[in-house]
Symmetry: C2
Subunit: 340 residues, 2 copies
C-alpha cells in the first residue's frame, strides 16, 4: 500500500494558531473539497474546529451542498470494540462503493494526540483510499461532551460528497445522548458480560438506540445479553408504539480478521433509513438538530456580546449605581441589555 | 432563655410554592424588615430564594437601604471548626453591640434540611436575640456553587440594618472563591495537621484570603501550620506588592466554651475594613461584585428569552431552511436573534 495521496486526515486542531496568517479562499476550498480533495476537507474541518474568522463564510459556502449524507452514530462503553466495528463498517461500506467519512470524537481527551495515533494505526487499511475521510476531533466546548464543532465538521464531510458519515464516540457521560442527537441512525454497541444492557437502561441509552449491536458475539454470554436487551425493550418506551421503529438487536464479531454480522448491520441501517424517510421521522430529526444548533449558536453569540460589555465603562457605571443604592441589579441588567 | 420572639430564621426554601397565593406588600415588608422584624426579614429572603415574581420589586425596594453592611466570608475544609468560629464571632460582635446577619450556605446539599437543624442547635445561644438574623440557604443555581440568591439575601440583611453579615460556606469546589467574590473580607480557616495550607495553595485560596485563621490552635502542629502558611505567602502573589494588604495569620481556639483569639480576629477584620476604605480597594470590590451580578442577571434573562423561542414556529422555519441547505446555522442564528 502506498503512503502517497494519503487520505487519513489527522491534523491536530490548533487554537486559532493559523488565524490571519494567510487569507483563506473559502469558495475555492469548498470547490476542491467537493471534488474529494482530502487536503481541502482537512483544512475546512480545521477552520471550523479553530472557530476561525472564516467560520461563517465556510458555513454559508457549505450549506447548498449539504443534506445528502446519512449520519450514523456509534457509541458504547470502552472495550466493546467500537474501533474495530467502525473499521469493519468502513470496509463494508467501501465494498458497496459508498464514500465514507469518519469523525472519531474522544470526549475524554481535550487534546486527542493519543487518539490520533490510534486512528493512524487502526485505520491504516484505508490509508490511500480516496473514498474515505477520517478525522479525529478533540472534545471541547461543552464539559465532557462533544465539540460544538462536530456538527460543522459533519457538514464539511457531507458537502465533500460522503454518502455516509460515521461518528464514533466513547460512551461516557452525556456524549452518547449527544451523538444520538446528531445522527440519523444511532448504533449502541454492547459486549457480552459487561452488564452493558443494564447500564444502557440506566443511562437512557435504550431510548436513543436505533440499533443494538452485541459485538464479540462469539463470547460466552452473548445470547444472555441479547435476551437482557430484548427484555428491557419489552418494558416499553416510545419504540413500543405502533408504527414506530423497533430497534433490532444484532450480533457481530468484528475484529482485525472477521466482519461477521457487519453486512446485516448495514442492511438494517438501510432499513432504518427507509423508515426514517417514509415515516417523516428523518426530516423531523434533522429539523430538530438544526434548531438546537441554531439556538446554541445564538446563545454563544449573546454570550460573546456580554463578553464585550464585561469590564466596559457602561457596566462599570451601572455597577457603581447599584453600589450607591441608586439602582438595583435587575434594573441595571435591563439597562445593560437595552444597550446590547 | 425565652423562645418567644425567636430570631433564628430557618424557614426551608420552597420552589415557588407560595407563588400567587396572596399578594405580597413588598414596601410594607421592607419597612418592617428595616425596623428589625425578623419575620419580615425571613419572608423577604424567602421571596428572593423562591425567585418570586416579586423579586424585582423586592430588589428595587431594598436598593436605597443597602450598602452599609460589612460582609465577612468564612470558608475552610470540613472539620476546621467553621460553625464554632462563626458562633464565637457572632458572640464577640454582639458584645460590641453590632447587629449581625449570618448566611450559612451549604453547597453540598440541595435541600439543606440537615444544615437547618444543625444551625438551630449550634446557634441556640442567639435564639431570642433580636440583634442576630440567621439563615441557612440551600445551594442552587450553579453546579455545586453558591445560590444565585445569595447576593440578594445579603441585600435583605443589609437593608435590615445588620452592621456585619457573615457568610459561611463549606470549602468545597469553587464555593470558597465565590464567597470571596461576595465578601469584603474573606477569612480562610485552617486546622493543624490537615495539610490545609498546601490544599489552600493548590486551590488558589491564598489569593483570596484576607485573613488566615488557624483554628484549634491548642493542637499539635499549629505552629507548623502557621509556618507553612507564612512560607507560602512569602512565595509571592498580589499580597507581596507594596501598599497591599498582607493577610495576617492568626491562631484561635473556638469551641463551645472558649473564644480564644476571636477578639483579635475582629480587630484585624476592622483593620482590613479601614484598609479597604483608605486604599479604594473596598469600593472596587463592591463595584466588581455588582458588575458580576448585573452580568449574571442579564445573561439569565437572555437565556429565558431563548427559552421562549425554543420549539417556536419561527425557530422551526429557520431550522427547515438549514436542513434544506437554503441557509446555514450561523445566518439562522442571526435571524433568530434579530427576532428576539
Amino acid at each position: 500500500m502506498s503512503s502517497e495521496g494519503i487520505a487519513v486526515q489527522t491534523e491536530a486542531p490548533t487554537r486559532g494558531g493559523r488565524r490571519g496568517r494567510r487569507a483563506t479562499d473559502v469558495p475555492a476550498l469548498v470547490e476542491r473539497a467537493r471534488t474529494g480533495d482530502a487536503r481541502a476537507v482537512a483544512r475546512l474541518i480545521s477552520l471550523v474546529e479553530d472557530a476561525s474568522p472564516a467560520l461563517r463564510e465556510v458555513a454559508a459556502a457549505l450549506a447548498p451542498h449539504t443534506g445528502s449524507a446519512q449520519v450514523i452514530g456509534l457509541t458504547g462503553s470502552p472495550g466493546v470494540g467500537k474501533s474495530t466495528t467502525t473499521t469493519a463498517l468502513v470496509r463494508a461500506l467501501r465494498a458497496r462503493d459508498l464514500r465514507v467519512g469518519v469523525l472519531a470524537v474522544d470526549p475524554s481527551s481535550p487534546f486527542s494526540g493519543g487518539a490520533l495515533l490510534g486512528d493512524r494505526v487502526r485505520m491504516q487499511d484505508h490509508a490511500g483510499d480516496g473514498g474515505v475521510f477520517i478525522r479525529s476531533m478533540a472534545s471541547r466546548g461543552h464539559l465532557g461532551g462533544l465539540s460544538w464543532a462536530t456538527p460543522q465538521a459533519l457538514r464539511v464531510l457531507d458537502a465533500a460528497g460522503c454518502d455516509v458519515v460515521l461518528i464514533e464516540t466513547v460512551g461516557v457521560g452525556q456524549s452518547e445522548l449527544e451523538i444520538a442527537s446528531l445522527a440519523d441512525t444511532t448504533l449502541v454497541l454492547v459486549a457480552p458480560g459487561m452488564g452493558d444492557g443494564i447500564q444502557a437502561a440506566k443511562a437512557g441509552i435504550l431510548e436513543v438506540a436505533d440499533l443494538f449491536v452485541v459485538n464479540k458475539a462469539d463470547r460466552d454470554g452473548a445470547d444472555q445479553t441479547v435476551r437482557d436487551l430484548r427484555y428491557m425493550q419489552s418494558l416499553g418506551g416510545r419504540h413500543s408504539e405502533p408504527g414506530h421503529w423497533r430497534p433490532p438487536i444484532l450480533k457481530t464479531v468484528a475484529s482485525r480478521d472477521t466482519d461477521n454480522g457487519i453486512d446485516e448491520v448495514l442492511d438494517r441501517i438501510e432499513q432504518h433509513r427507509q423508515w426514517l424517510e417514509s415515516s417523516g421521522e428523518g426530516h423531523m430529526r434533522r429539523s430538530e438538530r438544526a434548531a438546537r444548533e441554531i439556538e446554541a449558536i445564538a446563545l454563544a453569540s449573546l454570550r460573546e456580546r456580554m463578553g464585550d460589555v464585561h469590564g466596559s465603562a457602561a457596566l462599570g457605571a451601572l455597577a457603581d449605581r447599584v453600589v450607591a443604592g441608586e439602582s438595583d441589579p435587575y434594573r441595571a441588567a435591563d439597562e445593560l441589555l437595552a444597550q446590547l
